[in-house]
């Protein structure tokens, strides 16, 4: 990586990085100020009031309420600022722009498997264009990992059974570290890679190299047929499972009376553990696909389901998701 022999500060290569660093310098300033204040106080008092004779008679002081209040409320005021500023940056980190390009990240002992929206797959490498927001959907196939790009100041755990999200917008072309930051066993320290930030044109060229790959949506569409999903989740809403068209991101009423949002996590759970949250009006008859589909296949299926448009004329409203069928079935 093109940095000095002994770097003291990481490259700042994303929009968030600048925000984090500004906040960091504020905290460094506060830390230096108070450390110097305390150290100077201790050293000055220790010298000025050092014991000169065993007969010294120190002052009789019990304390001072005024001082206690001062050194309670001044630090309190400072930490309130830190809290608010830190929360604002954190909010920004957790709110990817709507137009972000979607990349999936699957951690597996001991490698990172990444896939672009256009279908290109990479291992331990991520090519991205400069100046374009990239949203990462992060999960793990085995134990917990953590996807960390220091130059972008982002990190998010890859937790098995969950989808976590992170995003960044690279501001500088170059090559930067990807680390696994959550201890994951023997080769944890070599579960590293690099992110290559390219000019948009170069990125297009990079995408164009090699045979055109199947996009996640295409893979999902193929799997949807191969795994016979369409048998029950029928477009005419007459299947034993609810219609999946247009439900992504919409609330779904469950048989228990609760409501969940049909997000990626719910879709994943419903594929791997269908009985967990059955849509109202359907029987828990769907078989599990645990062990038959990889995390990447699940991600592709969800990518495909997201693209399914809501039916133009919704059928008679049922108790379940939009487009519930007359006959009953599993989700």
């Amino acid at each position: 990586m093109d940095s000095p022999a002994v770097p003291l500060f990481p490259p700042q290569a994303s929009t968030i990085a600048a925000e984090v660093d500004a906040l960091y310098f504020f905290l460094v300033a506060v830390t230096v100020f108070f450390s110097v204040l305390i150290a100077a106080g201790v050293v000055y008092f220790a010298i000025r009031f050092r014991r000169r004779s065993p007969h010294d008679r120190p002052a009789e002081i019990h304390g001072s309420l005024a001082l206690e209040l001062v050194w309670t409320f001044i630090p309190l005021g400072i930490v309130v600022v830190m809290f608010g500023w830190g929360a604002r940056v954190f909010f920004h980190m957790n709110r990817p722009p709507d137009d972000a390009m979607s990349v999936s990240v699957v951690g597996k002992r001991w490698m990172w498997k990444l896939q672009h929206p256009t279908g290109q797959r990479e291992i331990n490498e991520l090519h991205v264009p400069v100046g374009r927001p990239v949203k990462l959907t992060i999960t793990s196939e085995d134990t917990i990992h953590s996807f960390f790009i220091p130059a972008f100041r982002i990190k998010k755990d890859a937790v098995p059974g969950r989808y976590n999200f992170a995003w960044f917008e690279a501001t500088k072309t170059g090559t930067y570290h990807i680390f696994c930051a959550e201890y994951c066993g023997t080769e944890h320290a070599t579960m590293i890679g690099r992110v290559v930030v390219m000019e948009p044109d170069d990125y297009q060229t990079w995408l164009g190299g090699g045979p055109p790959p199947e996009t996640p949506v295409k893979v999902g569409e193929r799997l949807f047929v191969e795994l016979n999903c369409a048998t029950c989740h029928r477009i005419d809403s007459l299947g034993r499972g609810p219609l999946l068209h247009g439900i992504f991101g919409k609330p779904v009423q469950l048989a228990t009376g609760e409501t969940v949002v049909a997000d990626a996590a719910y879709m994943r759970e419903s594929i791997l553990n269908p009985a967990a949250k059955v849509a109202a009006g359907y029987q828990p008859v769907m078989p599990t696909y645990q062990g038959q589909v990889s995390e990447e296949m699940v991600i592709s299926l969800i990518a495909y389901i997201q693209t399914l448009p809501a039916p133009v004329v919704p059928p008679a409203p049922g108790p379940a998701a939009p487009g519930a069928p007359a006959t009953k079935g599993a989700p």
Binding site: M1, A5, V6, L8, F9, P10, V20, Y24, L27, F34, S35, I38, F45, A46, F49, R50, P54, H55, D56, P58, I61, G63, L67, E68, W71, T72, P75, V79, G86, A87, R88, V89, F90, F91, H92, M93, N94, R109, D142, T143, I144, S146, F148, P150, R153, I154, D157, V159, P160, G161, R162, N164, F179, A181, E182, Y183, G185, T186, A189, Q290
Partner: protein, 543 residues
Amino acid sequence: MSTEPAVLPKVHYLNAGYGWRSWLFTTDHKRIAILYLVSVTLMFFLGGAYAVLIRLNLVEPTGSLVTAETYNKLFTAHGVVMIFFFLIPSIPATLGNFLIPLMIGAKDLAFPRINLLSWYVFVVGALITLHALVNGGLDTGWTFYAPYSTVFSNTAVVTAGVGIFVTGFSSILTGLNFIVTIHKMRAPGLTWFRLPLFVWAHYATSVIQILGTPVIAVTVLLVAVERAFHFGFFDPARGGDPILFQHLFWFYSHPAVYIMILPSMGVISEVVAAFSRKRVFGYSFIAMSSLAIAGLGFLVWAHHMFVTGLAVYAAMVFSALSFSVAIPSAIKVFNWTATFYRGSVSWQTPMLYAFGFIGLFTIGGLTGLFLATLGIDVHVTDTYFVVAHFHYIMVGGAIMGYLGGLHYWWPKIAGRHYPEWWARVSAVVIFLGFNLTFFPQFILGYLGMPRRYHVYPEEFQVLNVMSSAGASILGIGYLIPMVYLAWSMRYGKVASANPWPATGLEWQTTSPPPTTNFEKTPVVDEEVYDYPKLLEKKEAVLV
């Protein structure tokens, strides 16, 4: 006090009985404290040996000293031994055990046999854990994160978990004993607000030990059950939730940080008063801040989990609560510093450790704010920044306090003085070695070097070499007191009953104290840290 050379009392707790039975079956809190002192010292040097190997391995970016598997076992062993078998028992089980009855004018703790039991439980837990570390090893990190610990690790997780489970009971028993003792056995006239701050700090610590330790016991039990019988508590493949493990684990393990640091803060309050010959500034604020830390400490655990996918608003709540713990810690530091003002400040060894503690704890505490700040924590969590931060608190804080306290009360414990010159030299060596070891790790952390890395990119090498160099200085610094304290047990200058002199009932009995601590139960009719009165009484002050 006369200027004649002090003489040892004819009979004291150390020579009250001879032979191994008089030690292994003792119910004297002072002897049990010595048993603990020997045990935790052994564990400290064992944990230190692991640290030496870790730092040696990291001198080269290729980690050429040991294999990745061995390295993972080394940092796990270092963490497990240092946290569960040194830091948690260090001050409470040695100095606390020795001093609390003396400080409150009691003959012993409330339950002397339970006190001895706690030591046996500790030894059994330690042996089980050491057995696991030797046979099969443990590579989960001291944090035992699931599902790695329950599904993927091929090491002796269950045995080690059992060892830690057992050891937890020794911590609970000690805490229980302290709480009952402090409530019920104070000498006549010793009201709550006449208690030394050391006792307040141990009271707060004991509350955490009793309330927190059962949670870690349950957590390691769940890990063992999931691993052995394939229950699905934490493993998502069996319907469990790995994040649940982290909530349970940190619910104990964050308060456990305060189990380690609060007693040290208690030591510093005593030392600062004694070597300034002055009341502690803002006594009640320091006492109450210990309780505030113990209480708030239970509400901040999820700040270890800001990048796990925790809900944004939940993260904000835990961030705010984490900041709130900073305030009582800051109050303590300011009050100690103010105590020096217009005092008669002596630079004897315990005070050097107190100076060191205040400086290093300040840096450790302030860098904790970085981790409470959501926007920064995302970048620095799980990096060397965190490693540096908690070593400033645990080593710079807790161990500096432990060594300061050991020197301060050594004349009482051993009846003899340690060699002052050597002691000062080693205090300075430890301070310098410590900073050289851990300060570069803050920089490494912000650069992005993750923790628990057996190998690392080349550009991090210079800072790692600095850290390893510092560690070798630090190691020498720790060996020196080990040698001269052992030497002084036999050859040190005999100490008087109150050599510094200092207030506190422990200084009103002989050095070393008799088995029953006091010839007759003391009656307290003065406020705490009444140094003006003490100096008034001593016509000729020593030193």
